[in-house]
Subunit: 211 residues, 2 copies
DNA sequence: CACTAACTTGAGGAGGTCCTCAACTTTCTG
DNA sequence: CAGAAAGTTGAGGACCTCCTCAAGTTAGTG
C-alpha cells in the first residue's frame, strides 16, 4: 500500500510533519487535552491547516500514539524473553510505567478509552493481548498470585497513571516506590483471599468502549 | 463567637443555605471543577448572589469540605479504637476510600492540594496527624511493614482516587479489589526491600503547598 | 510560463466559564 | 410605614477553545 492514498504536495507534507512533531511535543508536555491551537502555533502553521490534515483530535491521536505504543510492545517482548517469568512480569510493569512517566500524553492515553475502530484502540488491544501472555506465564510459574487477572492490570494502570501525574514534577521517582509496595502484594506468597470479584465481561466492555 | 460576624438577613441566610446544599450536590456529582453557574442554577439563585456569598471557589470549598472531612475523622477515631492495630489500619483505609467513593467531590478534594491557610487545608492537616498515629501504631505492632510511612499514604490516596474515579459508574466496587492487592503488599511479611526512598521533606512541602 | 488543483490562512461564529456592577427588590429598624 | 441598609439580579465584558469557510497563495504539470 502507498504511504498516502494520493501523494501530498511538498509543502503539505512538510506541514504535516511539523504538525506531528509539534503534537508529540505538546501532548507529551500537557496531556491529550492540550488545546489544538497550541499545537498549530508551535508548528508555525495556521489552525486551519491543522484541521485540514487532522479533522478531529482522534485523527491526531491515531497518527501519533500507535508508534508510541509500539515502544510498549518492545518492552513486553523483552519481558517475555526474560527466562524468569516473575522477573519478566515485574520488568514489564517497570517498563510500562517508566514509559508513562516519560510521556504525559502516553500516560493519559493509557488511562483513557478509545473508540475501538481507531488505530489507537487497535494498538491497545494488541498490547493487552501480549500483556495477557506475560501475566499468564507469571501466574503459572507460581510466583504471581493466582487471583491476579489481566483486568486487574487495567486498574493498576489507572492507579499508577495518577501517581505519575501528581508526582511528575516534584518527585518523579515516586511511582517506583508505590509500585514496589503493590508488587509485594502481587507475589503468590503475599496473597490473602479477596472478596471482591474482578470486573465482569460486561463491565470491561463498558469501560473499554466507554467515554 | 457568633455563628456569623454580622447576622445575615433572613432571605440572605435562606439563599446561603440553598447554595450550600446545591454545592454539596453538584460537587459530589461532578467533582470540584463543576461550573459555579450550575450550582447557582440548582439553588435557584442568580450567579451574582453566589458570588456575593462566596467570592471565590475556595470559599465554597471551605464552607463545605471541612464538614465532610470530619466524617473522615470519625473513621480514624473508630479505627484507633480497634484493639488490633493492623485491623484498625485496614479499616481506616477501607473507610477512607469508601468515603471517597461515595462523594466525587471529596475524592477530588483528597487528591488535590489546598492553600494551607484555608479551612480545608487545616482540616486535611488534622486528618493526617490522626492517620499518622494509626500508621505508627500498626507499624509498631509489627504487622504493617516497617518502611511504610505517612507520606506513602498520600501516594496511595492519589492512586485510589483515580481507580475510584474511573470505575465509579460501571463497577463501583473495583477499588475494593485493588485495595486488597495493595494491602497484601503492606503486610510486614510481604515486605521486600525498596530502593526508592520516600518523599523528602522538601518534596512533601512542595506537593502540599503546590497547585 | 501559465494555469489549475492543492493547500494555507486567519477572522469570526458558537459555546462555555468566569466574574463584575449598576439598577432593582427585600428586609429590618425606629 | 418610611427610609436606609442589605441583598439580589442578570446582562455583558473578558477569556478560552472549538471548528468553518471564503479568499488568498503555492506547487506541480503540460
Amino acid at each position: 500500500m502507498p504511504p498516502q492514498a494520493r501523494r501530498l504536495r511538498a509543502d503539505a507534507a512538510r506541514n504535516r510533519d511539523k504538525l506531528l512533531a509539534s503534537a508529540v511535543h505538546v501532548f507529551g508536555e500537557r496531556g491529550l487535552d492540550a488545546p489544538l491551537e497550541e499545537i498549530a502555533r508551535q508548528a508555525k502553521v495556521s489552525i486551519g491547516t491543522l484541521y485540514n490534515h487532522f479533522p478531529t483530535r482522534q485523527d491526531l491521536f491515531d497518527a501519533i500514539l500507535p508508534e508510541r505504543l509500539a515502544a510498549l510492545e518492545r518492552i513486553t517482548t523483552e519481558a517475555l524473553a526474560d527466562p524468569d517469568p516473575w522477573d519478566g512480569f515485574v520488568r514489564f510493569l517497570s517498563g510500562l510505567f517508566e514509559l508513562q512517566a516519560r510521556d504525559h500524553g502516553l500516560n493519559d492515553a493509557l488511562a483513557r478509552r478509545f473508540p475501538d475502530d481507531s488505530a489507537v484502540g487497535a494498538a491497545c488491544r494488541s498490547g493487552f493481548a501480549q500483556a495477557e501472555l506475560l501475566i499468564e506465564r507469571a501466574r503459572q510459574s507460581g510466583r504471581l498470585r493466582a487471583d491476579f487477572e489481566t483486568r486487574d492490570l487495567i486498574t493498576l494502570m489507572w492507579a499508577m497513571s495518577q501517581v505519575i501525574r501528581e508526582s511528575m514534577e516534584v518527585a518523579p521517582q515516586t511511582w517506583r516506590r508505590h509500585l514496589a509496595f503493590v508488587v509485594d502484594g502481587l507475589r503468590a506468597e503475599a496473597a490473602h483471599p479477596i472478596e471482591t470479584p474482578p470486573l465482569t465481561d460486561g463491565q470491561l466492555e463498558k469501560l473499554i468502549r466507554g467515554r
